[in-house]
Symmetry: C2
Subunit: 95 residues, 2 copies
Amino acid sequence: MSFNAVFEALSHPVRRRILALLKSGPKSAGDLANGFDLSKPTMSVHFAKLRDAGLVEVERRGTSLIYSLNASVLEEALAGVLDLGQFGSGTKGDT
Amino acid sequence: MSFNAVFEALSHPVRRRILALLKSGPKSAGDLANGFDLSKPTMSVHFAKLRDAGLVEVERRGTSLIYSLNASVLEEALAGVLDLGQFGSGTKGDT
DNA sequence: CATCTAATTAGACCATAATCTAAATAATGG
DNA sequence: CCATTATTTAGATTATGGTCTAATTAGATG
């Protein structure tokens, strides 16, 4: 898990909104893209950055690619910058 | 508090490291800059982005500028992207 | 296999970010 | 007020990021 890639990915509002959409469940690239006023290729680049960061996973279903949120990577990265403590009161298995 | 500015600020490793240094207490611009292999002006630009995001506050002491961490802005931004829930188990005064 | 749909990759272009050196501002101390 | 220390601002340069259209890949279907 690369902190750098994760926070780079989080730095763009479109990508944060993609993550927010995926919180309610997996969605196809096309379905996700339809919620934005951007070309499909542009959206595809955003998907790629989220994939590279490990924030989403992708699975092929027929001709569609289904994206789903990888919440643990997101949580670990955010916890990392917070240094645990004030938020995670033993919720996760931290020492 | 601008989510955009906060996550833009967090996207650069130098700025995340500055925040980490400030966790142990306020420090002058010069002291902070000495921990990096970058020119003072470059560091100053990084400070400015952190200021703009509200992640740090600055106070003048003599000829020095003392930076300190604004933890609440950091926490709120990270909680925002997590949508609360899995981390903050009522630790903060969330509804 | 030709074709259709879904999505990505390639290539180009423009905007923004990161960095540097040099100059400017701000406070302190003779 | 001039010199010194601390830091920022200005201006230029280079690298990276976001976006588009056009072309490509991958799977499904007649």
